[in-house]
């Protein structure tokens, strides 16, 4: 599981360049960054907005290594979760927010079912985020499992 995850991340970084700045590992560890630093950059260089090797051009690749059999929008849902774990977790715990709403939308949950998705996530927070060092792969799996256990949401959890 871990191996697939790391391979998935490494092959995702050329596509989602900013993910390179989030460093290794999904989950809470994804908050460790290697950004451009130093007073010198501030003082002397109103930014060139360097993209630091970013080569993406809006293609969600089917060969990202995460799961080529998933439809494109499910991959977007996964990538979004991976990039925004801390915000999604926050929104799920507090029962509202743009990040959890976006995740719901990307998973294919229609607008009228989104409040149910959010409430279900909040009620099952401990199941979705079962450990403090959980990785996004496991979170994603747990979310799908929780959805499957709900008769209304199950249809979107394939």
């Amino acid at each position: 599981m871990k191996k697939i995850l790391i391979a998935g991340l490494l092959s995702m970084t050329p596509l989602y360049g900013m993910a390179a700045e989030t460093g290794p590992g999904c989950g809470w560890g994804s908050m460790i960054f290697d950004g451009k630093e130093g007073v010198v950059f501030h003082v002397l260089a109103a930014t060139t907005n360097g993209s630091f090797g970013n080569q993406t051009f809006g293609m969600t690749s089917g060969t990202a290594g995460c799961d080529a059999s998933k439809p494109i929008h499910k991959q977007m849902a996964y990538n979004f979760l991976d990039s925004n774990m801390d915000k999604v977790a926050r929104d799920m715990a507090s029962g509202s927010g743009e990040s959890v709403t976006t995740l719901a939308g990307l998973l294919g949950v229609p607008e009228d079912k989104t409040p149910l998705f959010i409430k279900t996530s909040q009620d099952n927070f401990g199941k979705i985020f079962s450990r403090d060092d959980i990785k996004s792969d496991d979170v994603y799996g747990a979310i799908l499992k929780v959805m499957q256990e709900n008769e209304v949401l199950a249809q979107y959890a394939s």
């Binding site: 989602y16 360049g17 900013m18 700045e21 809470w28 560890g29 908050m31 460790i32 960054f33 290697d34 950004g35 451009k36 630093e37 007073v39 010198v40 950059f41 501030h42 003082v43 002397l44 260089a45 109103a46 930014t47 060139t48 907005n49 360097g50 993209s51 630091f52 090797g53 970013n54 080569q55 993406t56 051009f57 809006g58 293609m59 969600t60 929008h73 979004f80 990039s83 925004n84 977790a89 926050r90 799920m92 715990a93 507090s94 029962g95 509202s96 743009e98 990040s99 976006t102 939308g105 990307l106 607008e111 909040q122 009620d123 927070f125 401990g126 985020f129 450990r131 403090d132 060092d133």
Partner: protein
């Protein structure tokens, strides 16, 4: 009906298509001084003709030949690269069955992004990062499908310099950025990545300007964007930068616009926003507050006992369960838990690291929060009344009349960018300044001579006040050459460089009045000095006050030279400014300088105009 290429070439010539502004925009041609054209694109892959970069006619001719050739069309055919040119030529040459159905990659890309509307996004400045003050612009493309109400899932189009950060040192970065040493490319990333970068990591507010582009205009723009995929356009930090290239995209989208043409030697992002607004492209404006601003606003509105809880619970050595006040209402508890989590997250992004105790605490905070079923425990964030694009113009000219060392003079000043603390503050954060190439020329009434009095090469001031949550460093950098009275009878050009560090204290959260204390370090040099110069260190006090349309600044410093010349320098500056609207102001300043025992006084009144 397929047409013979020669017929098309004749028709194109008759229609003068090579001189058509739409063609010139598609190939990014700009008129040169020696009559002619040159494309701003630097990548040979962008041109079909050998001399295509310098000849609209050659490029047009070769484009017609290759795009309408009879060879089988596939992803590697020029038609599938130059989609915008193909459709434009087909329209102008009356070809009624333009066909790109064999261009699978292009269509897959277009379907993936599926844009229905476009927005110009402006991450504005952050007070403690003046390098962000010029801002940045990017384009957001909102899809019309199931993603239409979740903008974080949209794509963002960004033109950026390709920099190998780890290998670059600061000075080389500046040099290459200024002189086109970096290749620039368009890239497309998920919008949420940009939100993370600007809103969260860099603590910048974001303004989102919805554009009124029609479906046809968006399609035209997308076709051209495809043509620019992986194409190198050299990045010039001051002129052909991120904001400039977005304008060139919009110029293609809506024929007749001449947005990029408004900018020649200097493109400041906020000016490009103003140009887009003036061209009638903006439907409405949205706003996203930065994480740090939201965090601080919410903290300030908490009653004392909740503030104390947040401070307590975010300590790594304090356990959550034992220390959470159980007498609080569910709503209060929710506020404390959320604010604590946000503070920990902010701390982590500030230092670019997340330590185990922090994420363990973060997890516990969220777990606890999930037990409280009250949602939305905060009031909605408010949009600032004044937008960043409504601030004073980026350039400034000024005329003054004054007296220096007993002699009267007229002064004429020019500054291409950007903002000083005495300038009209609307749309800017208090306590910040960034200025380049501020030139002051004086005409002495007695001497009847015109002389350069001073040139300020760069001045950056960042004075973020200490507050309940954070204690940021304040700093100032100043590099200038100024005529200074070194002795009673001698005025020399002294080159000086200041780098100051300190703290700022504001009277209240409006930050309208603030006092800063600095350690002032100044390197100065002049060839007439005995030891050619020196390094002086000492205290500096800076006080600023803003009251309705007045701004007031007092700046006092004293430095003892520790290396070089053995002397003391003292400076005192008092400035008062009044503004009528955001583009005119009147200023009176008094300046006294002591160079050991030699003193000089300057008093001046000046009128400033911003444009």
């Amino acid at each position: 009906m397929a047409r013979d290429v020669d017929t098309l070439l004749v028709k194109a010539s008759r229609l003068h298509l090579a001189q058509n502004p739409e063609w010139l925009n598609l190939v990014h041609f700009r008129a040169t001084l020696t009559p002619g054209f040159e494309s701003q694109v630097d990548d040979p892959k962008f041109f079909l003709a050998k001399d295509g970069k310098y000849s609209p006619e050659s490029e047009l001719r070769e484009s017609i030949i290759q795009l309408f050739s009879k060879t089988a069309v596939s992803d590697s055919h020029p038609r599938c690269h130059f989609v915008a040119r193909y459709y434009w030529l087909a329209e102008k040459l009356d070809i009624d069955d333009p066909n790109t159905s064999a261009c699978a990659e292009y269509h897959k890309w277009l379907t993936e992004i599926n844009p229905k509307s476009a927005l110009l996004v402006f991450p504005a400045s952050y007070l403690n990062s003046p390098s962000s003050m010029f801002g940045h612009t990017l384009l957001r493309l909102d899809p019309g499908d199931y993603r239409k109400d979740i903008p974080l899932a949209s794509y963002a189009v960004n033109f950026a310099a390709q920099v190998q950060a780890s290998k670059e040192n600061g000075f080389l970065y500046v040099y290459r950025g200024l002189f086109g040493g970096y290749p620039g490319k368009f890239n497309i990333v998920p919008y949420h990545e940009k939100i993370k970068e600007y809103n969260d990591l860099e603590n910048r507010d974001i303004w989102e300007y919805s554009l009124n582009l029609t479906d046809a205009e968006i399609l035209r723009m997308m076709r051209h964007l495809w043509e620019l995929k992986s194409i190198r356009i050299d990045y010039f930090f001051t002129s052909e930068n991120c904001s400039y290239q977005l304008l060139s995209l919009l110029d293609v989208a809506r024929p007749g616009l001449r947005l990029a043409g408004n900018f020649s030697w200097r493109t400041i992002p906020v000016d490009t926003i103003r140009t887009v607004i003036d061209a009638g492209l903006v439907r409405q404006v949205g706003y996203r507050s930065s994480q740090s601003k939201l965090l601080l606003q919410r903290y300030r509105r908490l009653p004392e006992k909740l503030k104390r809880q947040v401070k307590l619970l975010t300590r790594p050595d304090i356990g959550l369960e034992e220390n959470l006040d159980t007498s609080l209402s569910p709503r209060e508890t929710a506020q404390v838990l959320e604010e604590s989590y946000d503070f920990l997250r902010f701390q982590a992004t500030s230092v670019r690291a997340l330590h185990k105790p922090q994420y363990q605490k973060s997890y516990q905070l969220l777990k606890q929060r999930s037990l409280i079923k009250t949602a939305s425990v905060w009031p909605a964030p408010s949009m600032p009344k004044i937008r960043s694009d409504q601030s004073h113009g980026s350039s400034r000219v000024a005329t003054g009349y004054g007296k220096f060392l007993g002699k009267h003079y007229w002064s004429f000043k020019y500054r291409p960018a950007y903002h000083q603390q005495l300038d009209p503050g609307k749309g800017f954060d208090y306590g910040s300044a960034i200025n380049f190439l501020d030139v002051d020329i004086r005409y002495g009434l007695q001497s009847k001579r015109l002389q350069l009095n001073s040139i300020n090469i760069v001045n950056i001031e960042s004075m973020t006040p200490v507050n309940g949550l954070f204690s940021p460093w304040s700093w100032m950098v100043n590099v200038e050459n100024r005529k200074t009275a070194i002795s009673e009878s001698q005025l020399f050009n002294v080159f000086q460089l200041n780098a100051d560090f300190g703290k700022t204290y504001a009277i209240d959260e409006t930050n309208k009045h603030a006092l800063s204390l600095f350690l002032d370090n100044q390197l100065y040099t002049n060839r007439h000095l005995e030891r050619k110069g020196g390094l002086g260190i000492g205290p500096r006090l800076y006080f600023r006050s803003n009251v309705t349309k007045f701004a007031f600044v007092t700046d006092l410093s004293w430095r003892k030279t520790v290396v070089g010349e053995s002397l003391q320098r003292k400076n005192a500056y008092i400035g008062v400014s009044k503004y009528w609207n955001e583009n005119t102001s009147l200023r009176i300043h008094w300046r006294r300088e002591m160079w050991d025992d030699t003193g000089s006084t300057e008093l001046e009144i000046s009128g400033h105009y911003y444009f």
